[in-house]
């Protein structure tokens, strides 16, 4: 018989027998489904850390804002400017202005130790000194609890992520800054971005507390438009008074997240790969037992005229379906267990903590199911070939 439609009909019929016989093999089938679900849950769970971290970084910078660091600096930690230089930067062409002047914020960046709520262990928390334009050079900043600090006063406001992750950051409590204790007067949000992991104070007050004179570590500016970036950059890099590195804020945060996301992704894939090897053997066992249990059935079908190709494909489909079911279960478990789970981790570029939430994205779930499908196909291939090569006359006599 010929024709793709009838071949598909053959495949469908044999697949149906296989699926209907699953209750007779439920032990092996369950082991395979659980094995694949475990692989996918771990893969998706680990990668959701990277996705969550990347999301925080991605929402932290818009293309019409830029950060200026000293040339050669990878992060604010190793950058530095004097007041004169920050003024030149603020006055550069391309920088947006309002009635109070350029939208430019020269900022100071120090690290203080605070205990994590989850572990009680000290962690590095960024404390940023800002100027008033800091609110305009970032997106969607707002006070969600308490009030803004008063300029010139020893007060801080804290990001909502920091308030959630670290102890002693409630409104009304005090934090140790150098030799002083400063009150927390408010909590702010930043659309889930990096600033939410920080503590902010007046840059001038912070300079005094840390004996920094009138120095800063970075300047952030709002540009007239995303297209104004090149003009802004060219004017600064060609200015002999300056020796600077100019980056869009969006690119800066992508760079900042690269090391950690690469590390997490590599670890995630390594763990999942090792687990996947185990799951492939489980799938092999299940499908070999399926072929063994159905030897006479398969031989009967072959005797009746069903083709060996249809047998191979139908067994592969069965293995694929079992694995995909495992994948969907694993992905669902990862979603239920990890999605929006809040935590914080070290950003290796700034050596400070970034608060974020695990993100089990649709893309990760699809990736998990693709892994499951590959496990199923590898696990089903050899048993399927074995079934297709069964000597029919001999297999018909199997009991």
């Amino acid at each position: 018989m010929t024709g793709p439609l009838h071949w598909i009909l053959q495949v469908g019929a044999i697949t149906k027998f296989g699926l209907l016989s699953i209750p007779q093999r439920r032990g092996a089938v369950t082991a395979t489904v659980i094995g694949v679900a475990g692989v996918v849950a771990v893969l998706v769970g680990v990668l959701s850390i990277a996705a969550g971290f990347q999301k925080v970084m991605a929402v932290s910078g818009s293309p019409d804002s830029a950060i200026v660091l000293r040339s050669g600096a990878d992060s604010e930690m190793v950058s530095g400017f004097g007041r004169d230089q920050t003024r030149v930067i603020g006055d550069a062409p391309g920088v947006a202005r309002n009635d109070r002047g350029p939208l430019s914020s020269a900022e100071l960046f120090v690290i203080i130790n605070l205990p994590k709520r989850a572990t009680g262990l000290d962690a590095n928390v960024p404390l940023r000194g800002i100027e008033s334009a800091a609110w305009q050079v970032r997106d969607d900043m707002q006070i969600v609890q308490g009030r803004m600090f008063e300029w010139g006063k020893d007060e801080v406001i804290v990001g909502s992520g920091a308030a959630r992750e670290f102890a002693g950051l409630n409104v009304g409590s005090k934090i140790k800054v150098g030799r002083y204790e400063w009150p927390v007067v408010g909590v702010f949000s930043a659309k889930g971005g990096v600033p939410e992991s920080e503590i902010w104070s007046d840059a001038k007050v912070l300079q005094a507390a840390y004996n920094r004179g009138d120095s800063f570590q970075s300047v952030r500016v709002r540009l007239n438009s995303p297209g104004a970036f090149q003009e802004f950059k060219d004017s600064l890099t060609s200015n002999p008074q300056l020796n600077v590195k100019v980056i869009r804020q969006s690119d800066y945060y992508v760079e900042q997240s690269e090391t950690l996301t690469r590390l997490i992704a590599t670890l995630g894939f390594l763990i999942a790969f090792l687990m996947a090897i185990g799951a492939v053997f489980s799938a092999l066992n299940t499908m070999y037992s399926a072929v063994a249990a159905r030897t006479r059935e398969i031989a009967t079908l072959r005797a009746l005229g069903f083709g060996s190709g249809a047998v191979v494909v139908s067994l592969l489909i069965e293995a694929l379906l079992l694995a995909v079911v495992g994948g969907v279960i694993g992905g669902s478990l990862a979603y239920l267990a990890f999605n929006n789970l809040h935590t914080s981790t070290m950003n290796f570029q700034s050596f400070s903590q970034v608060a974020f939430a695990f993100q089990v994205t649709p893309r990760l779930l699809v990736r998990g199911v693709v892994w499951a499908a590959v496990i199923g196909l590898i696990g089903g291939l050899f048993p399927a070939i074995r079934a297709a090569r069964l000597p029919v006359a001999l297999a018909l006599r199997e009991l």
């Binding site: 024709g3 019929a13 006479r296 059935e297 009746l304 005229g305 029919v392």
Partner: protein
């Protein structure tokens, strides 16, 4: 030597067939220079002691195995020369099998089991349904169409197996010990049914059997012993 009819218009031609199985370094000659012709419309019983090669011969005629030497020609088609893929298609069109242990799919109802060979044809669903109903009626099993094999008696399961074998109206019905797993009464009913299929519907049937009642139902009986055919049983 050999046994056979001599009719050159025969449906089945087995010419000089030999079959050797290899077990390690040992060669086991199951069939040697065997000749057999079966005219269309004949009901042939193939008997002989266990290990005499009856089922091997049936498998060669049915295209489930290939001869080591000689040729098998069915309705003008040189079966032994077909590729595996073409052989599967040829079996679907020309051969109906009936097995000793019925070989029904336990997860399918009787009518779905009978429908299986029709999935390899171009018939529509409604046409398949008609053919299944006709086959079940022919074996007297219409009332059990929706039942699963485990709920049927041995005799009923074999009737279902026969219905599956004839549902495509094959050129040749090959039965391998169809009464071998049945009690006397059920076995007789199956023989009677096969006899009726041959006499009333003109089916060409080759039946491998140990059943001593088979010769009474078959039009012709041949005996196989040590790879050779004869028209008389061994003394």
């Amino acid at each position: 030597m050999n046994e056979s009819g001599t009719d050159n218009g025969a449906l089945v031609h087995v010419d000089g067939v030999g079959k050797v199985f290899h077990r390690g370094s040992e060669d086991i000659h199951v069939l040697t220079d065997l000749h057999l012709q079966v005219p269309a419309g004949e009901f042939l019983a193939l008997m002989g002691p266990s290990g005499s090669g009856k089922t091997t011969l049936l498998n060669l005629i049915g295209g489930l195995d290939r001869p080591t030497e000689g040729s098998v020609t069915i309705a003008g088609e040189s079966v032994h020369q077909l590729s595996d893929r073409r052989l599967a298609g040829w079996r679907a069109r020309h051969i109906g099998f009936v097995f000793q242990l019925y070989n029904l799919m336990p997860t399918l109802t009787t009518e779905r089991n009978v429908e299986l060979p029709l999935l390899l044809t171009h018939l529509s669903k409604s046409e398949r349904k008609k053919h299944v109903a006709a086959a079940l009626a022919m074996v007297g099993l219409s009332h059990r169409a929706g039942h699963y094999p485990r709920t049927l008696s041995g005799g009923e399961q074999q009737r279902a197996g026969i219905a599956r074998g004839i549902v495509t109206d094959p050129t040749l019905l090959l039965c391998d010990e169809p009464t071998g797993d049945l009690d006397r009464k059920a076995g007789d009913e199956i023989l009677k049914l096969l006899h009726a299929l041959n006499r009333e519907h003109g089916k060409t049937i080759i039946m491998v059997t140990h059943d001593p009642h088979a010769p009474a139902r078959a039009a012709r009986t041949v005996y196989l012993n040590k790879g050779q055919l004869s028209s008389e049983p061994l003394a």
